[in-house]
Amino acid sequence: MATHNLNRIVTGLAKKNLPTCLLKRTSINSFVVTKRHATHFKFYPDPPPIDCGPTEKMNLFQSLTSAMDISLSSDPTTLVFGEDVAFGGVFRCTVDLKEKYGQDRVFNTPLCEQGIAGFAIGAAVAGSTVVAEMQFADYIFPAFDQIVNEAAKYRYRSGGLFECGKLTIRSPCGVVGHGGLYHSQTPEAHFAHAAGLKIVIPRSPIQAKGLLLACVRDDNPCLFFEPKILYRAAEEDVPVGDYTLPLGKAEVVRLGHDVTMIGYGTQVHVLKEVAEMAHDELGISCEVIDLVTITPWDEEAVCKSAAKTGRVIVSHESSLTGGFAAEIASTIQKECFLNLEAPVERVCGYDTPFPHILEPYFIPDKWRCFEAVKNVTNY
């Protein structure tokens, strides 16, 4: 495009206060068209599970709507609530549910996470199945006391007289490309320390629907963190009917024998791509494991793989120190010490808050994971 035309366009846009961000001025008279950074992963869809009946193309948010629809229709006590869920939700996860099931079952709450959590716990204690939403995982912290001191301990402290097993809290999490400090967090490590909770992070629509239904029906309070970057980007042929997937069971999503790579959520797709790169460029065979459930986690499956390969990489978006990879690495070195050929590598976000424009440098992207494969095989 001729420079003087670009100049006119930019000036025109700027006069109307419209964004000129796609056009970067390199000198007083010329422009370069720039793009915002593309996603850091490639989504690997799975084939639908066999014996789950007919399927339909659904993205992640649609598969979640389907799960909640099934819970609302099969369990008359089910309630779905949170900020803005009535009109369909800020991520469209609850579209049409209010219209279908009524305002007394699908409703907005005031803007108060500690209230959402407390109210949800109480409703579950009184016998309702509850699916409560925290609009962003970054905002779950006001509810930390209710979740950790109350929900997690309800059964233990009462000897089972009272419990909130019918509670599931779901929340969008994770890297999204532009989220910065407060729209990118995954707080699994903070909550993993509270015995009594189950924490689940799905990698795809098929996984998400089955796992959310499993959480809703599990007799323990569950936290369900949904990688928001996958809401629209991840699409699969998802069974339309009712099905659940097991909690507490990790899944080997790619078989291999040289290196074990463990992750969850979006990171599973990053690791799958790294496995392909390692195969193509280094001739290394990687086994990729989706942890699926953070607590209680599948030690047996992870250690079996670690013992087989002797070389392990654990990777998550959350910061390194005190992150969940530390827990996994610690257990692997204890249980598989004599099988290890190299120290367990952790590829994680750095020990900083989540940056905005510097996100590409913060996240454990495929290049950092690829480098870890080299490190662990060249030890």
Partner: protein, 442 residues
């Protein structure tokens, strides 16, 4: 759309309001809840305000809290048990009155014995209910036994009323094998599924939004029941209290919020806890029906709770009750309140506004259904029963150490199976360093 335009035609207005409710739930409710006593003309109403129509004013006027506007305290009898307004006496049967009084004395006696037990090192911790017996018994007696109770920690009288036995109280305090929670909590953290009393937890005010949620759920599954949530004036400062009020009000939950304003949160007096007119003044800010009552007057507590329950259930909305009382005892056995308040102050309340004595005078003078002789006999009988339960509880074994791992989840996940085995193996080797003889076997 204008409320004013339809105000003359009741049928249209009703239809309008109900249609309005469907689409603009919040606005309609605030329009309906805030009844005006003077008609508002259309052009004076702030019609478009999303939160509900409001009128305009041309004078620059700030609202200033004034002592004269402070909410008065509802009472039925005075400090001598004399009825002030005959129409307010609920004229309960003698059986009910005796049961109420018996409960207050039993509670008081148990408190005395268990407090001493802690001082003697027999139990680790205790909290008394001195001075608040009327609040507990009066409110509990006004409820249905199926109404779900969420407490803070100073509501043992509610359990006494509902039939929690002395054995059950003591077994929890002694943390022995009979405690359904296997001694997992500190003393006074009682709970009873059968008596619909949710197990107490130490964090303050956490029970409050839970009560709102439970009330919401119960409204759908058990219409005709309500939830009552007890909390202190200190706990009312927590964010959870605000959340509870707002959620219960916006979501139309039949929850009674019963604030025991006993003047102290450990050492912090109420005038350091809030600057406004206590907790009752906050109620209307949330759109809640509210009353302030004399918490040391059994009948006032009874009347208010009974009415509040009716409102909550019939109108599907929360009600706030602030019961003014006084914490006669220390905060707990870990506290010596003479460090922050004068002995004289405690004396004044104990002699001048004593809930047990006031009720006793009412029974003797107003109802002629009690006397000092029976009073002495009751005190002796309660003491005897308490000491019997106390002696038995003290002798029982503590729970098996294996129970450490139960009820974390509904079943034992692999990591806990492994950890339990580690603990058992450890105890096998180091048994003499642990008080295993006090416990059931591992």
């Amino acid at each position: 759309m204008s409320v004013g335009r339809f105000i003359n035609c009741a049928a249209i207005k009703a239809a309008y309001v109900s249609a309005f409710r469907q689409t603009f739930h919040g606005a309609a409710i605030s329009a309906v809840r805030y009844k005006s006593t003077t008609p508002q003309s259309e052009d004076q109403l702030g019609m478009k305000i999303i939160g509900g129509p409001r009128s305009f004013i041309n004078k620059l006027e700030f609202l200033e809290p004034k002592l004269e506007d402070a909410i008065p305290i509802y009472r039925v009898y005075d400090t001598e048990g004399k009825i002030l307004d005959g129409t307010q006496d609920p004229k309960l049967s003698e059986d009910v009155l005796h049961q109420m009084y018996h409960s207050m004395i039993m509670l008081n006696t148990m408190d005395e014995v268990m407090y001493s037990a802690q001082r003697q090192g027999r139990i680790s911790f205790y909290m008394t209910n001195y001075g608040e017996e009327a609040s507990h018994i009066g409110s509990a007696a006004a409820l249905d036994k199926r109404d779900l109770v969420f407490g803070q920690y100073r509501e043992a009288g509610v359990l006494v009323w509902r039939g929690f036995t002395l054995d059950e109280f003591m077994d929890q305090c002694y943390a022995n094998v009979n405690d359904p929670a296997a001694g997992k909590q500190m003393p006074v953290h009682y709970g009873s599924r059968d008596l619909n009393f949710v197990t107490i937890s130490s964090p303050l005010a956490t029970q409050m939004p839970q009560a709102s949620g439970a009330a919401y759920a119960l409204k759908r599954t058990h219409p005709g029941l309500c939830v009552i949530c007890y909390f202190g004036e200190g706990a009312a400062s927590e964010g959870d209290a605000h959340a509870a009020f707002n959620f219960a009000a916006t979501l139309d939950a039949p929850c009674l919020f019963f604030c025991r304003n006993n003047g102290y949160a450990i050492s912090t007096p109420a005038h350091e806890q809030y600057r406004g007119d206590g907790i009752a003044a906050r109620g209307s800010g949330y759109g809640m029906i509210t009353i302030r009552i004399d918490g040391n007057d059994v009948l006032a507590v009874y009347n208010a709770t009974k009415k509040a329950r009716q409102i909550a259930i019939e109108e599907s909305r929360p009600v706030l009750i602030e019961a003014m009382t006084y914490r006669v005892g220390h905060h707990s056995t870990s506290d010596d309140s003479t460090a922050y308040r004068a002995k004289e102050e405690i004396e004044e309340w104990t002699s001048g506004d004593n809930p047990i004595n006031r009720f006793k005078f009412y029974l003797i003078n107003e109802r002629q259904c009690w006397d000092e002789e029976r009073d002495k006999a009751l005190a002796a009988e309660c003491k005897k029963q308490v000491l019997k339960a106390f002696t038995a509880a003290e002798k029982r074994k503590k729970p098996s150490p294996s129970l450490l791992f139960t009820d974390v989840y509904d079943d034992l996940p692999p990591n806990l199976v492994k950890q339990r085995q580690e603990m058992v193996d450890h105890l096998g080797k180091y048994s003499k360093h642990y008080p295993l003889d006090d416990h059931e076997p591992v």
